[in-house]
């Protein structure tokens, strides 16, 4: 792992490896703002935050630096790296409600859905195409989406980049289409190549001033099973030669407990990093939509940062073997077992110790016991998660890159998250400059 900080054009330092948090509600945004502002020493290992473009209108009043405040943002909060993820894959693979929310994202005097595209009888709003796609039958869905969207998806490239620039983001993510289906992968990769090239050209050719002070990230959103197929090489080639400053890898339909898929993902990251090394590029590889624990495994295989949701499983974990928890209270991250425990599980685990919380972070210290913690359970477990992740990132950064896997293997071997152990058998030979 390169031990030097990667300097962004905005002047901020991205210390590698890094972890970003992904708030998705106003409540989570408040937690992130409070944590970053009030606990600088306890959150200094967290690189920053990322928000979905559809969530940003809700989060902006709390997290945006365009909002005037009575008490100004702390210098420390200003140093955190900010990213908006356009989440364009939602148009293809997301839920109806998320698609509609994305169409309502406000732009200058209009919304994303009101951007016009050519229709048979004249210009029609983009959202009409999305609505038509929502209503269509499920059979051959990927093919229908490709036919419907690919000729128009380029129309929103300018708007989504401008949206990110207007909101003072440090890394601008380009337009993309997801690679979701084996039968259509060739066409989807070709469209992604075309959109990535357009997005980079738009950023560097049209937003010339912004491109001098901001970095650009190309996004590859891919169904994890495609990385285990012959198309993997094509995707590696596309990612390695796109010319972006950063590379984002968003895993769809991915369960990190499935060893075959996880190995394919890690192998893909290794291949990509080795090509970057051959090209003498230090392009950071960012993993989106993964558990932070899997991001640690990916650090041993060539990835440099992970973007994880706050104390929840990633949004797009569609795997039926790992469904969304029906537990209303949410899960508490156990810092020793490295498991996400329900309230009842935590009570059972701590019963012999007078229900004392198994953590000494500032939040857990304040509450002391599980019984007292229940009063503020939702925010407590998220604050605790940020503190714990910060501590874990501190440990990871303190270890020499050549032995990171051994350190993590030791840590996970002592926990109950032993399913991750096989991923720590390898350590990518990072080039030290």
């Amino acid at each position: 792992m390169p031990s030097w900080p990667y300097l962004l054009r905005s002047g901020k330092r991205l210390v590698l490896p890094s972890l970003f948090v992904r708030p998705s509600t106003a409540g989570e945004a408040e937690i992130v703002y409070k944590m970053f502002s009030d606990y600088p020493n306890e959150t200094d290992q967290i690189a920053g935050f990322v928000s979905s473009m559809k969530d940003w209108p809700t989060l902006a009043p709390i997290l945006s630096d365009n909002v005037p405040r009575i008490k100004p943002d702390t210098e420390y909060f200003k140093q955190k790296i900010r990213v908006i993820d356009p989440d364009i894959h939602i148009l293809f693979t997301g839920f109806k409600i998320a698609k509609r929310a994305l169409m309502e994202v406000p732009l200058d005097n209009t919304t994303l859905g009101d951007i016009t595209i050519p229709g048979v009888m004249g210009p029609v709003p983009f959202k009409r195409m999305v609505e038509a796609a929502i209503g269509e039958v499920e059979s051959n869905k990927a093919q229908n989406y490709a036919d419907r969207f690919y000729s128009h998806i380029g129309c929103i490239t300018h708007s989504i980049e401008k949206f990110q620039i207007d909101n003072n983001m440090d890394i601008i993510i380009g337009n993309y289409v997801p690679i979701t289906s084996l039968s259509l992968a060739t066409r989807q990769i070709e469209e992604l190549r075309h959109l990535t090239r357009d997005s980079i050209e738009m950023f560097r050719g049209v937003f010339t001033t912004a491109s001098r002070v901001k970095d650009f990230m190309a996004m590859i959103a891919v169904n994890a099973n495609i990385l285990a197929s012959d198309h993997s090489e094509e995707i590696v080639e596309l990612a390695a030669n796109c010319g972006a400053d950063h590379l984002g890898l968003k895993l769809l339909n991915f369960d990190d407990k499935d060893p075959a898929r996880a190995s394919a993902v890690l192998r893909f990251i290794e291949d990509l990093r080795s090509i970057f090394d051959e090209q003498k590029k230090s392009t950071p590889i960012h993993l989106f939509n993964v558990m932070s624990e899997f991001a640690y495994a990916a650090f041993c295989h060539g990835a440099t940062s992970g973007f994880a949701p706050l104390a929840t499983i990633p949004e797009l974990h569609f795997d039926p073997n790992n469904p969304v928890s029906p537990e209303l209270k949410g899960r508490y991250y156990h810092p020793i077992d490295l498991t996400y425990d329900t309230y009842e599980e935590l009570c059972a685990k701590t019963q012999t110790n007078n229900f004392a919380l198994p953590c000494s972070c500032p939040t857990c210290r304040d509450y002391g016991t599980v019984i007292r913690a229940v009063l503020r359970w939702p925010s407590l477990r998220k604050e605790h998660w940020i503190f714990d992740k910060n501590e874990e990132m501190g440990e990871i950064r303190a270890v020499p890159s050549s032995t990171l896997n051994i350190h993590l293997k030791d840590k996970f071997a002592r926990s109950q998250a032993t399913s991750y152990l096989p991923y720590f058998d390898y350590m990518y030979p990072y080039i030290e400059v």
Binding site: H152, H158, D166, E201, M202, V206, T209
Partner: protein, 163 residues
């Protein structure tokens, strides 16, 4: 001849993406593409050659942009019979020679270039906003004459002060 026909083209935005770029930014982008194309082909290009390769731009618009680029001294022309050849005006000597003078809403960029007439001091107006930079008028002064030009400006300034 074959070298001229195989032009080196810059990466271009697709038509669908370009259509959604606001008019003013689109104009700046297209002018930049034309300048880049001419710079990539220092032996010169004709209007016909540009028209065949830059299909995003109509021929009248292309001719208009070429005139603007010529008058802002970013390119120059040479007549070969009935054909007008567009050539890049300048090659930057070294980025270290570049200086910028900030005015209220714009900058004057001073750089040392080398072209067919020798070394030249190039003064160009540039406006920047949050998204893009807009190139304005530019003048070329031979490097040898530059000290005399500065003296002339100083005298002019002193005279204005005296009145």
């Amino acid at each position: 001849m074959s070298e001229v026909l195989t032009m080196v083209m810059p990466t271009l935005l697709s038509e669908e993406a370009l259509q959604k770029v606001p008019r003013r930014e689109r104009e700046e982008y297209l002018k930049r593409v034309i300048v880049q194309t001419i710079k990539n082909n220092p032996e010169g290009v004709t209007l016909q050659m540009l028209r065949e390769r830059l299909k995003l731009i109509g021929v009248r618009t292309l001719a208009k942009y070429l005139q603007i680029l010529k008058y802002t001294n970013q390119i120059y022309t040479r007549n070969i019979g009935p054909t007008i050849l567009y050539l890049p005006n300048s090659q930057l000597m070294h980025p270290a020679f570049e200086r910028t003078f900030s005015l209220t809403d714009k900058e004057l960029k001073v750089s040392l270039l080398k072209n067919r007439l020798g070394e030249q001091v190039f003064i160009q107006e540039e406006r920047k906003d949050k998204y893009d930079r807009h190139i304005g008028a530019g003048i070329l002064i031979p490097k040898d004459a530059f000290p005399a030009f500065i003296r002339f400006l100083r005298d002019a300034c002193n005279n204005m002060g005296a009145t």
